[in-house]
């Protein structure tokens, strides 16, 4: 067993004290050590965006960041998006209503990407949204409904 270091992560408002190897990625730490498996890994080399989470409000590829680098930051994952068990976040609701997911493997990454964008800039227009969405891959939907859902969420969040 290689050497481990203690790391304290704040995820979705909860504190996680974990002991990990310094080489552990943030994605692995969230999934395996914090038990938050909603963050998915599609490539582990920074292209697909399935692992997108929010670190201090900004979208980040969790597979490209070491967990130790996230000390002291505020992390949000898909599990922290909905306000409670009864309600969904507007972006989640829009993805449901507009059929923005099929297999769902890319979905957490897209939800965090769009939530991050709209929480910072609710008035994002379609052209800018297309740019934002082009940073992640989806193999199932052909993106049509992801775009529709994202714009529906934008409308709701800016309205």
């Amino acid at each position: 067993m290689s050497q481990t270091v203690p790391v304290r992560l704040y995820v979705n408002g909860d504190r996680h004290d974990i002991d990990i190897e310094p080489r552990r990625t943030l994605a692995d730490a969230l999934r395996d050590d914090c038990g938050l498996t909603g963050t998915h890994l599609g490539c582990e080399h920074g292209v697909c965006g399935a692992c997108t989470i929010l670190v201090d409000g900004k979208p980040v590829r969790a597979c490209l960041m070491f967990a130790v680098q996230a000390e002291g930051t505020s992390i949000r994952t898909v599990e922290g998006l909905a306000p409670d068990d009864q309600q969904l976040h507007p972006v989640q609701r829009a993805f449901w209503e507009k059929h923005g997911l099929q297999c769902g493997f890319c979905t957490p990454g897209f939800l965090m990407l769009v939530a991050g964008q709209l929480e910072e800039k609710p008035e994002t227009d379609e052209e800018e949204m297309r740019d934002v969405l082009s940073s992640n891959l989806c193999r199932c939907t052909g993106y049509q409904n992801i775009l529709k859902a994202s714009m529906a969420a934008a409308e709701e969040m800016s309205g």
């Binding site: 999934r31 909603g38 697909c48 969904l88 099929q102 297999c103 052909g142 049509q144």
Partner: protein, 803 residues
């Protein structure tokens, strides 16, 4: 619809029941099961050499390693068809003595964490003595070619399928035809590339001795049979579960050698073992597809009637035969379906599967059809030019419009709307307006093009269609058949004592929304709401044997079986209700959770009928079973969905980049159970087709090493590369589907490449450039444009000098 008819759930775009858990991050994929278990991890040492002899495998002490030598009692994977031209080869679980492709598993290491397993992997040294690699169909079939497998090839070397059809009247018609038009088309190798790579997690239960395998599969029952056969164990010693699966597209319907190892190790070591495939491994070893070249020649009358088609079809199928559908899947489909929706009378075809030292092929969405359609639709456009007929008119003239229609390979086209979908698509496209825009753009040096693609998508086929791939054979008195013939789907439907409905299905959805769609179909029959219907799938302990989800089949087959079972259960509910309400079962309507007498208007809740059945069974008037259950099987011979795609493109002459600026689909998938789901399937499929036409390509170098092993080299489209996709629906039903639904899973992928190839060829026609081989990458187009421009310039200089 009249006022008294109950509202139908079918036909509505209900939000999917699958979604809320996924949206909250509570989806449960195989890697999530492993993540939350203290399991060991497996990693595979893979060959870096395309062909060679294994000289030695060494690992330092402390590395837990398995090689072929440790596999006593483990068999090999054999996938065969009963055809005289079929050559059977076998796939070892770990390479034994020889390696046959880069990425082939040679050894497995195990460690307590995934990171440590990766460390161990680095410490294993494999020594391989290289042999000349067979890397093309031409090399593979040459005299004296090196054999990829040391078996007897009765025909050409390395040729494992060599199918032929030659209709009796062909020679005469072909020779006499006024025009003969030929095309050669081809596709590069492709990866289905589901966003979730493969994974498996085997958990050994010491209490029962059983092993539960969570695995990324589209066909859990069949995979269980395959695993049990190879491992020589009782099928019941295994439980196979496909939890949430992150896309399949065909690449998850073959038995993986890695999964055999994971189960084997879990049973031997009596511990839980997981394997999570990396993206690089997925590109190297998780099945490829579509490396095909077709030479196709059509014989036309003066007026443009396509009388006869001659074709030579070659598929490079890689090094092994995938279980269960075999390496015959591409050539045999292409041979049977090539002529598609066109009324061709005579047909002469040779269709081959040829081995190479590359990753084996398996189905990928549409299998051979994208290339078949590319061939026929390029043929139509080239013929239109040659015969000076409008391409839409030429298609219209040749499309089958009377049904049923037997095509020369023997398949029967059932009710469809080939001409109508073409007409609808042409109207949406407004070709005359496009030509005006094209001319105006050309004046500014911009190159626009338009392309059509009409096709039939064979869907929802059961055992009869799969049986036709083999020659007819008789079962031997006491031996199992050598051939696996997929097909039927079976469901078990039950209403519990609180009137809750569950249906257990053999199909295994992985993103298609089948739970929602089946609930809609069943709800209409039982008069309940879809929220009350639970669909149980993808667990061999909980569902009837079935073939899984592939080939656009689930809605037709599992949907058909569900409807039949629901009708039977509805009949029982009507009988029970009539004994309470009076009248005959035929007087009873089921709706809103109640059984109602149509004349008297009196009603009884289904809940009461359910309680009657289970809790007052002694009072059941006809002494029927104390159960509300129905089982049904559906196994039709198959139907054909059909569609016409139209692409508009703009080619940048400086870079060779193609922008798809407009994409239209006129689709006829029969009755739409959930239109939003259908549109989603079409949109996703079209984008994979655009990828096939323009971007995605698996590239091997001249030593057989795969070069495209990351998402930096293999380029699936992002939203940037994708236009808005406009869809129009026609709904032609067919007696071949009880629900009226035809399959729709593959159509988008099937039709789009040809539409785009035709559009790019239209944009570049003035330069004499045609796109027959896909993908038409910027590099290829730029090179072609430059050499065409250079040739035109030289031509001009020549003419000027001459004058």
């Amino acid at each position: 619809m009249t006022a008294v008819e109950p509202p139908s759930w079918t036909g509505r775009s209900l939000p999917r029941v699958e979604d809320p858990s996924i949206l909250r991050g509570h989806g449960r994929y195989v890697a999530d099961v492993a993540s939350q278990d203290r399991c060991w991890y497996a990693k595979f040492v893979r060959s870096s050499i395309a062909a060679g002899r294994i000289v030695g495998i060494t690992a330092p002490p402390g590395v837990r390693i398995y090689t072929a030598a440790d596999l006593d009692g483990v068999g090999e994977i054999v996938a065969s068809l009963a055809r005289p031209d079929f050559v059977t080869t076998s796939q070892p679980i770990l390479a034994r003595d020889v390696v046959r492709f880069v990425g082939e598993p040679v050894a497995m290491v195990l460690a307590e964490t995934e990171a440590e397993a990766e460390d161990a992997l680095e410490r294993v040294v494999v020594e391989i003595e290289p042999l000349p690699a067979v890397l093309s169909v031409a090399d593979a079939t040459a005299d004296q070619a090196r054999l990829v497998h040391d078996v007897d090839f009765p025909g050409d070397p390395n040729t494992v399928v060599d199918g032929r059809i030659h209709t009796p009247g062909f020679d005469e018609v072909f020779a006499a035809a006024a025009h003969r038009v030929s095309v050669q088309v081809g596709s590069a190798r492709q990866s289905a590339m589901p966003l979730e790579a493969r994974a498996s997690h085997a958990a050994y239960d010491p209490a029962t001795g059983r092993t539960t395998l969570h695995v990324t599969t589209q066909m859990p029952h069949v995979i269980r049979t395959g695993l049990a056969d190879v491992l020589g164990i009782r099928e019941d010693d295994l439980r196979v579960i496909a939890p949430d699966v992150g896309g399949g597209f065909g690449a998850k319907m073959a038995l993986a050698r890695e999964d055999v190892m994971v189960v084997h190790a879990a049973r031997r070591l009596r511990r839980n073992i997981a394997w999570i495939e990396t993206r690089e491994e997925n590109f190297m070893a998780a099945w490829h597809s579509r490396e095909q070249v077709y030479d196709v020649e059509g014989a036309f009358t003066e007026d443009g009637d396509l009388l006869a088609v001659r074709a030579d079809l070659r598929c490079d199928v890689g090094a092994y035969s995938c279980y269960p559908v075999t390496y015959g899947v591409e050539p045999l489909m292409a041979m049977a379906e090539l002529t598609g929706p066109y009324a061709v009378r005579e047909y002469s075809v040779r269709s081959r599967a040829v081995l190479s030292n590359k990753c084996p092929i398996a189905p990928y969405r549409g299998v051979s059809r994208p290339v078949q359609v590319l061939a026929m639709e390029r043929l139509m456009d080239v013929a239109a030019r040659q015969l000076d007929i409008d391409p839409v008119d030429l298609r219209m003239r040749n499309l089958v419009h009377e049904f049923p229609h037997r095509i020369p390979s023997g398949l029967v086209l059932d009710n469809a709307s080939h001409r109508q979908t073409l007409a609808v698509a042409a109207e949406m496209a407004d070709v005359a307006d496009f030509r005006r825009r094209q001319r105006a753009a050309r004046g500014e040096g911009r190159l626009l093009g338009i392309g059509f693609s009409s096709f039939a998508e064979r869907t929802g086929y059961g055992t009869p269609a799969f049986a036709a791939r083999s020659a007819p054979f008789e079962l031997k008195p006491s031996a199992v058949a050598d051939v696996i013939t997929p097909g039927f789907e079976r469901v078990v439907l039950a209403m519990d004592s609180s009137a809750g409905v569950t249906v257990r299905i053999g199909a295994s959805p992985h993103g298609q929304g089948l739970r929602t769609a089946l609930a809609q179909v069943i709800s209409d029959e039982l008069g309940v709401s879809p929220g009350e219907v639970r669909v149980i799938h993808s667990d061999t302990d909980a569902t009837p044997y079935g073939w899984g989800s592939f080939a656009s089949r689930a809605m037709v087959l599992a949907g058909g079986a569900s409807m039949l079972a629901a009708r039977e259960l509805a009949g029982r509910l009507r009988t029970l209700a009539s004994s309470r309400l009076g009248g005959l079962p035929g007087d009873i309507d089921l709706s809103d959770g109640e059984a109602r007498h149509r004349e008297t208007g009196e009603s009884v809740p289904l809940f009461v009928l359910a309680r009657d059945t289970y809790h007052s069974s002694h009072l059941i008037p006809d002494k029927g079973e104390p159960a509300l259950e129905a089982t049904a099987t559906y196994d039709p011979s198959g139907t054909f969905a059909n569609a016409c795609h139209v692409a508009e493109v703009e080619v940048d002459p400086a870079t060779g980049a193609v922008a798809v600026t407009r994409f239209l689909v006129a689709e006829d998938a029969g009755r739409l159970v959930n239109p939003a789901i259908v549109d989603g399937q079409i949109q996703g499929g079209v984008v994979q087709g655009i990828a096939n036409a323009l971007f995605e390509e698996l590239i091997y170098d001249d030593r057989g090493v795969l070069v495209t092993t990351s998402l930096m080299d293999y380029l699936p489209p992002t939203l940037h590369e994708v236009p808005d996709i406009e869809i129009a629906h026609l709904e032609t039903t067919s007696p071949q589907s009880v629900t009226g639904a035809k399959g729709v899973g593959e159509g988008g992928t099937i039709g789009a490449p040809a539409a785009i190839a035709n559009a790019v060829s239209d944009a570049l026609g003035h330069l004499g450039i045609a796109v027959d081989h896909i993908p038409a990458t910027p590099h290829r187009l730029r090179t072609a444009i430059r050499s065409a421009q250079a040739a035109q310039a030289a031509d001009k200089t020549d003419r000027e000098t001459a004058s």
